[in-house]
């Protein structure tokens, strides 16, 4: 019997290696896999490249991972936001690499990785300083730049419902980056609010089919903020 549900956060993160590229779902706090990120703190992997929309806030989660010197590089669209002081200090001190990627290009690069597309042309960023060093080409009279797929070794995502095959649903705007990160990683770990029986998610309503998910772990919290 296929059973992707594991019994603890620790088990769900077994084997995450040093040097891994970690895709972290969520847009701000919504759809962010907080327990898995806390688990990663415990788990110990270091020299990480983290891909996320934001660069952490406060002194918990991703910000704490950075404070502990576990993150080598951040790939994100919006590093500076309310409370991103940890990022800013480390970055100014030269202790953190940063790759800024437009939000849609970030999503599309992960979707491409998941779909076996190694590179694609996009108009986003053409003619700006983010195009520096990138191949460009004119299509339909307009400049485009070539962007590369962005695969992950591990994706940490947050789901609303999950079953033992790893089928997932997300809740409202908690969907955001989670489905494309699930596609893009070799090991996708989903924390979920609800574990349901196989077949309880209607086949027309599955958001992420289980083929993109390797491990599922249930968490208790019912909302992105407590």
């Amino acid at each position: 019997m296929i059973n992707k549900i594991v019994q603890s956060i620790a088990e769900s993160l077994e084997g995450v290696p040093h040097g891994a590229t970690i895709l972290m779902g969520g847009f701000g706090a919504v759809g962010q896999p907080d327990e898995l990120i806390e688990g990663l703190l415990e788990q110990g992997a270091r020299d990480l490249t983290v891909v996320a929309n934001n660069a952490g806030a406060g002194k918990v989660g991703l910000a704490r991972l950075m404070m502990e010197g576990r993150v080598r590089k951040i790939i994100c669209s919006f590093p500076r936001s309310a409370g991103s002081t940890v990022f800013e200090e480390l970055y100014r001190a030269g202790k953190l690499e940063l790759e800024i990627v437009p939000q849609g290009t970030l999503a599309e690069r992960m979707r491409a990785a998941g779909a076996g597309i190694p590179a694609f042309f996009t108009p986003t960023g053409a003619g700006t300083k983010l195009a520096q060093g990138k191949e460009s080409r004119v299509f339909n009279g307009r400049e485009h730049i070539l962007e590369q797929a962005l695969p992950g070794d591990v994706a940490l995502i947050e789901a609303w419902q999950a079953d033992r095959w790893g089928n997932l649903t997300y809740r409202e705007s908690g969907r955001n980056f989670n489905p494309v990160m699930a596609m893009a990683a070799t090991l996708t770990v989903a924390q979920t609010h609800h574990v349901v029986d196989l077949g309880d998610i209607a086949p027309d309503h599955v958001h992420t089919p289980g083929i993109f998910v390797q491990r599922v772990v249930q968490v208790e919290r019912g909302a992105p903020w407590v």
Partner: protein, 244 residues
């Protein structure tokens, strides 16, 4: 539309934002319309049925000025179509936030989707209109709104480049000048570009200005009460053409 000699009048449409003399806000009003007034002016030009993405700041306020009977479908790049206004106090839903991470509501007919699909809508030209703030707009339509200097090594681009490059129309709403009086409508952007040649129209506290390919800035309307074209031109960093 407005020639040099046309009598100029304030066209702010939202009387509830007019304040009594002596109110500190009045100083601002004297220099043109308020932020709410600018948002209202933008809203006037959005027809029913458009799919619209509103950036953070004044653009977000535009939604409040679209009459409820005029159906405009709001897109949020974090995966929402059919966004409604902020929830009533105490009725917020933590799972439902806009691109500014503020709680919002969803109208009947709304839908959720993932980030790649959401930016597919943007990049694919399905969003009829995007309204953004900006640091500068150049007369060739270049927009700079994401990095405050070439030396800003950790700027936050978010979805701005995608929206500027992808939406069918890009309108900018911003003050006509910086706080210290330097023009924000310019011949060429000094700040790093968000996208080249992307802006079609600018709404400021002083005027509505189109960007017309091959011509540059074309004045559509002066919003600041009692302001002449010459006075407006003096606050603008590039030639303001008129259709008169």
């Amino acid at each position: 539309m407005q020639g040099d000699s046309v009598p100029l009048r304030i066209t702010q449409r939202n009387p509830r934002h007019t304040r009594a003399l002596g109110d500190p806000m009045e100083l601002k009003l004297m220099a043109g319309v308020t932020r709410q007034g600018m948002a209202a002016r933008v809203a006037r030009d959005i027809p029913e049925g458009w799919f619209v993405n509103l950036g953070i700041g004044i653009p977000t306020m535009v939604a409040d000025h679209v009459p409820v009977e005029r159906e405009v479908i709001l897109h949020s790049e974090n995966g929402i179509l059919g966004m409604g206004p902020a929830p009533e106090a105490g009725k917020g839903n933590a799972w439902l936030v806009n691109a500014g991470k503020q709680q919002v509501t969803l109208r009947p007919g709304g839908s959720f989707f993932h980030h790649a699909d959401s930016f597919g809508m943007i990049r694919g030209g399905h969003i009829d209109l995007c309204v953004l703030g900006a640091f500068e707009v150049a007369e060739n339509g270049d927009i700079a709104n994401w990095a405050t200097s070439e030396n800003d090594s950790a700027p936050a681009v978010g979805g701005a480049m995608d929206l500027a490059a992808g939406a069918k129309r890009l309108w900018v709403v911003m003050d006509h000048t910086t706080k210290d009086g330097r023009p924000k409508l310019v011949e060429a952007c000094g700040y790093p570009l968000t996208a080249p040649g992307a802006v079609q129209r600018i709404y400021t506290n002083l005027a509505v200005v189109d960007v017309v390919q091959g011509r540059g800035f074309v004045l559509r309307e002066i919003l600041a009460e009692g302001m002449s074209l010459a006075e407006l031109q003096a606050q603008t960093g590039a030639v303001l053409h008129t259709d008169a």
